[in-house]
Symmetry: C2
Subunit: 239 residues, 2 copies
DNA sequence: TTCGCCCTCCCCCAAAACAGCGAGGGTGAA
DNA sequence: TTCACCCTCGCTGTTTTGGGGGAGGGCGAA
């Protein structure tokens, strides 16, 4: 496998790329530079949507979608609870569905070795950056050890690009909440009832209601729960 | 500021460190190597807890906690919605509370320049890795441009360590929601009432309630609003 | 097979939230 | 000064949730 990589150059090219086709070119170029079989960037939305780009065969990608492997793929499941990059060997392949998945993946040309880096963005965004290859354990360990830092940076930059392309939830700068409203919404998000919040803030429950309604109005929310959800996803409150 | 950094060496030392005191040593060493004023790693928990380590004065740290600046700090608020590292100059400092915070920070020796990298881990974990310094804009831009990749890696490795020290903040936390529960929570977060959700999912309202209660239980939430807030901050649902 | 978990449905009643109508005083900007 | 917004407090209802019981079938793992 590759001996020396000019990572800076790759990252600069990636940064300058502005089309999906360009990304595909870059990912293939990176794969060739690293001299490995596959590189994949895989975005997983918790709503179930996914977007991927990489060097897997179309057959395998289609198969993955058709079989809804998203729910059984041990790489996804394992990485979802982790922060560290992980070698595929260290994942849990014991379940029956995992073994079926593995056999299917191998049959479609996915290498016997793999290394995945979980990445997370705002609003619960989750993605994986994976490299895979066909080789023995020792060779693979040498590879991952040597390039783990480069791979982390690559993962970071690929995700950056993905977020650039994603129609970012409109940066609507809605009116901000007043300090008191922030207090109220924060306490509500912490599970306090209206009565508890009123007591905590040492105001009457009636006053409290005015704040909630005002915040609800500002956020265009249908009820308190909705208002909390909007305030959180806009980063107006931190809980 | 620093001319050449042997990042590999730093990261290896950091990886080998196993005590909080050791981390503090490393962070100070790194600051000296970069020849800047401050480096801070700041963990923000979804419960509102925070843990930090860095080179700020104890006075400022205490002040930050006392004033609950977590809720007003534009760096926190700004980074919470971003994936990209961000220069402090590009944040929104227009609100009154932000200006008060800024003045207070300056008075406590925080530099006029700053650069923060948001980091996210499993279960909605969120942290910031920040560097700050006192210098003019041009010098700072040169610094951040030159070292942004090193800083990303440092952020990543510091967060790794933090997660190592904090294996799992709650054993039950890792429990995920069932698909149906995700549906329910998502629709509730979108402002639907129970009746509307039940109609949308074509199930009885009674069934619906079972899901809500089950989700509430799994999330350790006190009521529906709380459950929504927790599910969101853990990235289990996206709205 | 048993056990655990997921999905589905039903009852009742108390507690909480929502919705509408009010009121007044403070502050900061145009 | 006016105007907008923030903070505070009150009343009377209706609607929605929450908590306590239940029941049964399905599916996958141990």
């Amino acid at each position: 496998m590759a001996n020396r990589i000019n990572l800076d150059r790759i990252l600069k090219i990636l940064e300058a790329t502005s089309t999906l086709e360009g990304i595909q070119d870059v990912i293939e170029k990176v794969r060739d530079l690293f001299e490995i079989d596959h590189i994949v960037y895989h975005w997983v939305d918790s709503a179930g949507d996914q977007y991927g780009c990489g060097t897997y065969s179309d057959d395998w990608v289609q198969r993955y979608l058709d079989q809804e492997y998203l729910r059984t793929d041990p790489v996804i499941i394992g990485c979802y609870q982790r922060f560290h990059p992980v070698d595929w060997k260290r994942l849990d392949w014991s379940s029956k569905s995992a073994r079926i998945f593995l056999a299917d993946a191998q049959a479609h040309g996915v290498g016997n070795q793999g290394y995945s880096i979980p990445i997370r963005g705002p609003n619960g965004q989750f993605a994986l950056f994976s490299v895979s290859h066909n080789c023995d354990d020792a060779t693979w360990e040498k590879f991952t050890e040597k390039y783990s830092r480069d791979l982390i940076l690559l993962a970071h930059y690929f995700n950056r690009k993905a977020l650039d392309f994603e129609p970012n939830r409109a940066p609507e700068q809605s009116r901000t909440l007043s300090p008191r409203e922030v207090d109220v919404m924060t306490l509500l998000a912490m599970g306090y009832s209206r009565a508890q919040v009123a007591e905590t803030l040492a105001i009457s429950e009636h006053t409290l209601r005015v704040y909630i309604e005002s915040a609800r109005f500002k956020l265009g929310a249908l009820n308190t729960t909705h208002a909390i959800a909007r305030a959180m996803s806009r980063g107006l409150i931190v809980v």
